[in-house]
Amino acid sequence: MTEEKIREQLEYTLFKLEAQEACRNLMGRYSYYRTAFQSKEIVDLWAKRDDDKLVTPWGSYQGHQGIEACYLQDIGDRSDAKVFEAIKGAVIMHEVDTEVIEVAEDLRTAKAAFLSQGHDTYVDRTDNETVHAKWAWEKYSVDFIREDGEWKIWHMTIYPLFQSEYGEGWADNQTYVSEAFAFQNAGPEKTDWHYDRNELYPANEPAIPEAYVTYDKSSAE
């Protein structure tokens, strides 16, 4: 093997490792910004592409414009005075763990899955200032793409696991999205699995990434 070939292989390996670090950091940043309603910063984590896609338990958003509509209009940024007033008492904290990250052999994309244990605390100002303290666990399937040399979120599906008031068994509550929130820009596609004693747990939510060559072609092929 020539010295240049060795250098190329080292560079390839390093690039993959750097991509994993970048994807891991993107998910971490997403979590911290989400808790603090730093929604402008979240939008910056996404690729500026028409084929961005975000699917959530309350609906879906297509393209970068859809991502902006979700985070800047449906959720809102803390710099907006109305939002700042509305998020008093709100702590939406979704931690990120149990990662599986696969970077494509062509180094252009990455696929990942994560679990998230979390809690949602908020004041329902549509219902006599009722305070909610809820466990809120969920799962993420995420595709990342390299855009202008930087890794970005490309597709994200948030699968609900359970949400239940403190002290309430999660099997007793099948509602994941509170009616206290309106998501006016969300499309109809949504993730809505909930625990049911008569149903098998889904086999592929999230899909566990396997090694792959290009975004559309697996290594097995």
Partner: protein, 244 residues
């Protein structure tokens, strides 16, 4: 693409550094639960500018770190700890997740943040009723000892530094998120207070810890996820300015 061998070496070292920092946080967690605080001292840089900021106060320099872990807390080998009705029965577990780690381009320092779901179990009195009590003191007579099983979720901002070729803790800030009895929602739990802890070697925090309140907005900078940087001296976190 097309990096030189020197650039590749630096790149691999930064990957190794990120994992070393994650490992340090993992070791911190396991050692803390087992009260292996002598071992924990080995994870810290031997420097006078170390900062350890805890929910009850902060400690400066490696001597401050030693006072926190070996005097205020005590190692499991310490006879005072072994004889203490307070420390026996203690099980403080703080898991680590949601990491964002940035290693400086110069490879000398790193910054990281973590969230931590955790729980604390112990048998304790209400320390606020006798604030001068410290490890080794006899407990007042007729003291009511309460069983305490609490959720204790927290979050960390940490600076790391490479010292003699090894990554070490340099500056660590721990914020409480919720600390609440198993049967009580965090929204109904009283705020954490310095006198809840029987420690005496710390300096007072420059400002009170954030605590949930229905009229308070969650802070955006506790912690602030690190962004890529070249040299630490050009990117010193604002956070440390008040810990002097």
């Amino acid at each position: 693409m097309s990096r030189t061998y020197e650039e590749l070496k630096a790149g691999f070292e930064r990957i190794e550094a990120a994992q070393a920092c994650r490992n340090l946080m993992g070791k911190y967690s396991y050692l803390h639960t087992a009260m292996r605080n002598i071992d924990f001292m080995n994870l810290w840089a031997n420097r006078e500018d170390d900062i350890l900021a805890m929910p009850w106060g902060y400690y400066l320099g490696i001597e401050g770190v030693r006072k926190c872990y070996l005097e205020d807390h005590g190692d499991r080998s310490d006879p005072l700890v072994q004889a203490s009705p307070i420390f026996k029965g203690g099980m403080m577990m703080h898991a680590m997740d949601t990491a964002v780690v940035e290693v400086a381009k110069d490879g000398k320092t790193a910054k990281g943040v973590w969230l931590s779901p955790g729980h604390e179990s112990c048998y304790i009195p209400d320390f606020s009723k006798f604030p001068d009590w410290k490890k080794g003191d006899p407990l007042p007579e007729n003291l009511e000892i309460m069983s305490s099983c609490e959720w204790a979720w927290s979050k960390y901002y940490v600076d790391f530094i490479k010292e003699d070729g090894e990554w070490k803790f340099w500056k660590l800030r721990l914020w409480p998120i919720y600390k609440t009895d198993f049967y009580v929602p965090w929204t109904q739990h009283p705020d954490m207070d310095e006198v809840d802890f029987p420690f005496h070697n710390h300096k007072a925090l420059p400002e009170p810890n954030w605590a949930w309140n229905k009229e308070t907005v969650y802070p955006a900078d506790q912690p602030e996820p690190p962004v890529p940087y070249e040299h630490y001296e050009d990117a010193v976190p604002e956070l440390w300015k008040s810990f002097v």
